[in-house]
Amino acid sequence: MKHKILVVDDEAEIRKTIRLQLEGTIYEVLEAEDGEKGIQVLDNENILEVDVIICDVRMPKVNGVEAVAYFRENYASIPVIVLTGYPDMQLAVDFMKVGVVDYLVKPVEKENLVEVVGKAARQRTIFSGAQPKV
């Protein structure tokens, strides 16, 4: 069984790129096109066990700052990775304070993404007390 990675990003090309970079790994990508959709996925389809969230910052409707705050508050056991085109130190510090696993600035190399996602997935396993799925 694969780990499920929820990608929250308004740009289709970015969702596609993450999918490409995680292709052939133990990770399966679910997509949400903005923060609101991302929240819906978790709230309404809780049969889906999301293992890691990768979230963009600048998005319509519910932006990344709001979405991540919601995820951390309501789904604290799911590790969050912020992936943004916006290199902003203060923003990075703020995200780290609410406990995101990493703050990655695009473009990110495949190997780097796989490594960070792996780190996040291990956290998920530890904190949820679940048995490793792989």
Partner: protein
């Protein structure tokens, strides 16, 4: 010593008028306490309280004056009606580089640069005739002195006068302000330098913000390019590889478009390829583009377009300027309101007013609306570059733009462009 000098100024001046007064080396020529001496002056016949020798008040005063003159760090010079030098103290010797013995009896003029002598003589005469008793000469103009070696120096000077036996004695006190002037000049230079540095820092800050905004725009397609290239590198399916390559071509075009747009904003005005632009057509285009972005159909857009001659510009620039302002107006109104666009000819200009019934602009923000990346919108609604771009476009075509706003009531943006024939002439 200061107290004595202050109290006995009048007497001092009287003495200064005497050409035979000789400065003493010592400032403490008179060992008597002030009170004692005052009594002695008031009652000439009185014997000194503590001394064994008889006291001559005239000699006494002369000695004290000599003391004052000798210790004053300022130059003290006195002249009679003939404006020839009668007193030239140690301070003056040091300042001007003359020995008192050499300059005594010579015209005061010699201490002033030749080019100012005529004006100076006039000043002296006017002062003699005036009812004033003293005057700070630098109140009116800068005083320059000339030393024995011909070098000049800026000085601060005051002059006082005393009528004595039908003669007007003028006493001038000067001090060298070279160091102060230099310090002032250095201060001004430092201030100018600081201002330049500030302007530069602001420019750099703007560039920094711009770079950050550009970074965000470009990092997304760059990431997509990287992902597609990695997929080609790591895959062995030719058809998929070709698809990824095709995607890369698309992403590259996207980046090129962003850079093209941005360099249009940043590059100085390029007036090649100007055409006659129908402003009303540009407004109509901008309105229809803006309508597409409307999520709520509860917003009304009213157009009142008057007959207008053409302006000389690039139509896409003019259209973009109107679009940016209109879009801002629509965003300010949220889900309900009325946007009005009005165009009219005013003398040799085309005038367009775009008004909305939205949230308005706080007065504190009104001055910042053109700053690049200044925005009160959320992160998903704009980069804060829209009005900056409008301002660049308006400037490019010698137009004007102004905002008026009542918070809570709405905002009016007034834009004008000069009417121009295709050859650039004003009709």
């Amino acid at each position: 010593m200061l107290l004595e000098r202050t109290q006995d100024t009048t007497e001092g001046k009287a003495m200064a008028g005497r050409s035979d007064s000789k400065p003493d080396d010592q400032g403490n020529a008179d060992p008597q306490p002030i009170e004692e001496r005052r009594r002695a002056q008031e009652t000439p016949a009185a014997m000194p309280a503590g001394g064994g020798r008889p006291s001559d008040p005239r000699v006494d005063r002369e000695l004290r004056l000599a003391g004052v003159l000798s210790v004053s760090p300022d130059a003290i010079i006195a002249v009679g009606n003939d404006t020839r030098i009668r007193v030239f103290n140690a301070g003056a010797e040091k300042l001007f580089g003359y020995r008192a013995a050499d300059i005594m009896g010579r015209p005061l003029d010699e201490l002033i640069p030749a080019r100012f002598r005529a004006a100076h003589a006039e000043h002296i005469e006017r002062f003699r005739a005036s009812p004033e008793e003293s005057r700070l000469m630098t109140e009116r103009s800068e005083i320059l002195g000339v030393r024995a070696d011909g070098s000049e120096f800026p000085a601060e000077a005051s002059v006082s006068k005393l009528e004595l036996d039908g003669e007007t004695i003028l006493t001038v006190m000067l001090h060298d302000v070279t160091a102060r002037k230099q310090a002032e000049a250095e201060l001004i230079a430092a201030k100018e330098q600081a201002e330049q540095a500030l302007i530069q820092a602001e420019k750099m800050a703007a560039v920094g913000t711009l770079a950050s905004g550009i970074g965000h725009e470009i990092n997304n397609p760059l990431y997509a390019i990287m992902g597609a290239a990695e997929a080609i590198r790591d895959g062995n399916d030719l058809t998929r590889g070709q698809e990824h390559a095709q995607d890369i071509v698309g992403y590259c075009k996207h980046v090129a478009g962003i850079i093209k747009n941005l360099s249009g904003y940043i590059r100085p005005a390029d007036k090649h390829g100007l055409e006659s632009v129908d402003v009303n057509a540009a407004i109509a285009e901008a309105v229809s583009m803006a309508r597409l972005s409307l999520l709520a159909d509860t917003i009304e857009i009213e157009q009142r377009l008057g007959a207008l001659p053409a302006i000389l510009a690039k139509s896409e620039d003019i259209q973009q300027a109107f679009f940016n302002v209109i879009r801002n107006g629509l965003q300010a109104m949220g889900r309900a309101g009325t946007l009005e666009v009005e165009s009219v000819r005013e003398a040799d200009r085309v005038s367009v007013r775009i008004s909305d019934t939205g949230a308005g602009i706080a007065s504190a923000n009104l001055a910042k609306v053109f700053d690049p990346f200044f925005t009160t919108k959320g992160p998903d609604e704009g980069e804060g570059i829209g009005l900056f771009v409008v301002q660049q476009i308006v400037k490019k075509y010698d137009g004007t733009i102004e905002f008026e706003s009542d918070p809570g009531e709405g905002t009016v943006c007034a834009i004008t462009f000069p009417i121009r024939e295709p050859n650039g002439e004003v009709p």
